[in-house]
């Protein structure tokens, strides 16, 4: 099987701290893989390694079969990233921010297309024309989602993407992820939100102290069982 994301014995050590201990992970196109774990468990490090923002101490990460450390620019063609807090540029409007990031990714969209992406992420036309400096955290997050979607990436790397979103926006986001997954986009999402993971994920992985300690298909568990499983690992 061809995996769009793959980690082979991926290890990352910072001075005095082992952040990731030999991670092995494969994610197929259309799959939504949710990484659960406490702060410092290694979720963000995993995402940063796939983005090429940090170099692995040993092992390798692959995106669409391309080794990240060898071709850090090439792999970004396949990736879109949404951080926990999308800050954007406060002096630009939502439209201008989206236009900027899309042009950097090589897409030159006209205003109606940009409006459509923002609308799909749940941002109103009126808000899109306002400067981002006036936005709430949730509105900025929606622009971040629009940026990721407009890139037409094969993989979405999401680091706590629903943090700060209200329940309605979170639901809309989940729906969007399901649509993208159905279109073949693979998603790797680091989250604390067990119920969101159960709702949108096809598989969940539980990380603890830099190690992927368990991987389960979400279909095999209900939300309560997933919560119990998670708490068991956290209390061990």
């Amino acid at each position: 099987m061809n995996y769009i994301l793959e980690a082979r014995e991926l290890r990352k050590e910072y001075p005095g701290r082992l952040a990731l201990r030999g991670l092995n992970l494969q994610i197929a196109p259309g799959e939504v893989f949710c990484l659960l774990g406490q702060n410092g468990a290694g979720k963000s490090t995993t995402i940063n390694l796939f983005l090429g923002f940090v170099a692995p101490t040993s092992g390798a990460a692959f995106v669409n079969g391309v080794e990240v450390a060898a071709q850090p620019l090439k792999i970004k063609e396949y990736l879109a990233y949404i951080p926990e807090q999308v800050m954007l540029y406060p002096h630009l409007t939502g439209l201008e921010n989206l236009s900027l990031f899309s042009s950097l990714a090589g897409f030159q969209y006209k205003e109606p297309e940009l409006q459509a992406y923002l609308a799909r992420a749940g941002l109103s036309t009126e808000a899109a024309r306002r400067r981002v400096g006036t936005y709430s955290k949730g509105m900025r997050q929606k622009v971040g989602i629009a940026i990721a979607v407009a890139k037409h990436a094969k993989v979405l790397l999401l680091d706590e993407p629903t943090s700060g979103l209200d329940p309605k926006a979170s639901n809309e986001f989940s729906e969007l992820l399901r649509q993208l997954s159905a279109e073949g986009t693979a998603v790797l999402m680091a989250t604390h939100d067990i119920f969101r993971a159960k709702e949108v994920g096809t598989r969940v992985g539980i990380m603890r102290e830099g190690k992927l300690v368990d991987v389960r298909p979400t279909a095999a568990l209900n939300a309560h069982e997933l919560e119990q499983l998670y708490l068991t690992y956290m209390h061990d």
């Binding site: 940063n48 990736l79 630009l92 900027l100 042009s103 790397l157």
Partner: protein, 472 residues
């Protein structure tokens, strides 16, 4: 990609109220300095041209007189202002503008603006060059200190890089965007200055002035470029915006205030210059060893007289076709002039060695590279001042020797006779030609080289440093 980032930086900067207020202040200062500079330049230029015309007129309209009396009556040389000195007054305000030209004496250039003005001038003038050299860099620092720090702090850098942009491209985009914003502040003032230079009848607008202005603009463009690059590099290196701001302000203080003062003091300590009184005493003492045209008992004058009698085959001074007094004056002038030239050259060499320390410091401090380049292109540096001094002395020497020869031609008993008023109208008046750019350029090679080395070195090294910056 670089263009998109540059556009973002430019638009963001224009929408930032803090930048708008600061840039409006700097632009207002620049425009004010240009207009004040022009007014002062115009007034001084007209004053000096009128004074030169008046003294030339008075010199040529003297009544019938003995030539040596005319030589002592003397004349004045007024230093005209160069066109671009309205942008950079350089050392003009502190060097003199007028020199009295007379027989036997090489007077120094006097009546500087600093002497003639109130004490406020000692605090420094608000010239266009001052704003460009010190205040625009401060504006650049406030504009760029958060270039990378804020991207790190807000997390936008990761979002940018995830789009497939390199750190190097982000840096170049920022440099270009900030460059456009700075150009927007500086360009109106330079455009106004260019308009004033080329529409004002009092300015000798021509290809030389145009070339000087173009190089002036290019020089400052390179200076601002390297300050922008430096600020962006520091912001990437420090990561924290506030630390970057403090570091950049420290560099500004060091480069703009401390190093220039320190190198000037070092130059004066290593190469102490003698005072004017000391030099006058030494020149006078040494000149005494030559002939004294005003001392009839002088032995060397007597020897010259003997030689003349022998040459013309006569036995008395009365029979000589030339005036012994005139020829003695000529010999005396030649000797004293040679003595003066030697001392003058030695003093100037000392000043040049002092200045050289500051100019070489341009390799360490870009401010000390742009300053001599700016003054040199504006025609207001020490080299241009010396050029005027030399031209005035050459004119004085030529005039006095011509008068001495007129006296010599009057024959024996010349002291009892006068030459007609029309004689003085045939004498050349002082007509100073400002040196050309081709003359000035060899003096400016080191500052040009320093600026280019800074620009290339900082771009190469700084961008390498930025590309190795940690993203997470």
């Amino acid at each position: 990609m670089i263009r998109s980032i540059a556009h973002k930086e430019f638009v963001s900067t224009l929408r930032d109220r803090r930048f708008l207020v600061l840039s409006a202040l700097v632009l207002a200062l620049l425009l004010l300095a240009t207009l004040v500079g022009r007014r002062s330049h115009q007034a001084l230029q007209q004053e000096r041209a009128l004074a030169q015309h008046t003294v030339n007129d008075q010199f040529q309209n003297q009544p019938a007189r003995h030539p040596h009396r005319v030589a002592h009556y003397g004349s004045f040389a007024f230093r005209p202002k160069s066109g671009l000195s309205l942008l950079d007054a350089g050392v003009d305000s502190f060097t003199g503008a007028v020199v009295f030209l007379e027989a036997h004496h090489q007077n120094s250039v006097n009546f500087s603006q600093a002497q003639e003005s109130g004490s406020l001038l000692r605090f420094g003038e608000t010239t266009v060059a001052f704003v460009l050299q010190l205040l625009v860099p401060l504006l650049i620092i406030f504009l760029c200190f958060g270039a990378f720090g804020e991207e790190h702090e807000t997390g936008t850098l990761k979002l940018l890089l995830s789009q497939g942009v390199t750190l190097r491209q982000v840096a170049w985009g920022k440099i270009r965007g900030y460059g456009q914003a700075v150009a927007l502040v500086v360009a109106p003032a330079l455009a106004l200055a260019a308009t004033l230079l080329f529409v004002g009848a009092e300015y000798a607008a021509g290809p030389d002035l145009l070339a000087r202005l173009l190089l002036f603009v290019v020089g400052y463009a390179v200076y601002f470029f390297l300050i922008i690059v430096g600020s962006v590099v520091v912001s990437a290196w420090q990561r924290d915006s506030r630390t970057a701001l403090v570091t950049l302000l420290g560099f500004w203080m060091l480069g703009g205030v401390i190093l220039p003062k320190a190198t000037a003091n070092l130059g004066a300590t290593l190469y102490p210059a003698i005072t004017k009184a000391q030099m006058d005493t030494e020149v006078h003492a040494e000149a005494q060893k030559g002939m004294n045209g005003h001392d009839p008992q002088d032995q060397r004058s007597a020897a010259l007289k003997e030689a003349l009698l022998k040459k013309y085959g006569v036995d008395s001074e009365e029979k000589l076709p030339v005036s012994v007094g005139g020829l003695v004056m000529r010999e005396s002038e030649e000797y004293s002039s040679r003595v003066y030239q030697q001392h003058f050259a030695a003093l100037n060499a000392t000043y040049e060695r002092q200045n050289a320390i500051s100019t070489w410091a341009g390799l360490l401090n870009p401010y000390q590279a742009i300053r001599p380049l700016s003054m040199g292109l504006a025609g207001s540096d020490f080299a241009h001042y010396v050029h005027f001094q030399e031209a005035a002395e050459a004119y004085r020497y030529g005039l006095v020797q011509r008068l001495n020869m007129l006296q010599a031609g009057m024959g024996y008993g010349d002291k009892e006779r006068r030459l007609g008023a029309e004689t003085w109208r045939q004498l050349p008046v002082f007509n100073y030609q400002l040196p050309t750019l081709a003359w000035a350029l060899p003096h400016l090679l080191l500052p040009v080289l320093s600026l280019l080395l800074w620009a290339v070195g900082l771009s190469w090294l700084g961008l390498r440093l930025i590309s190795k910056t940690s993203i997470v």
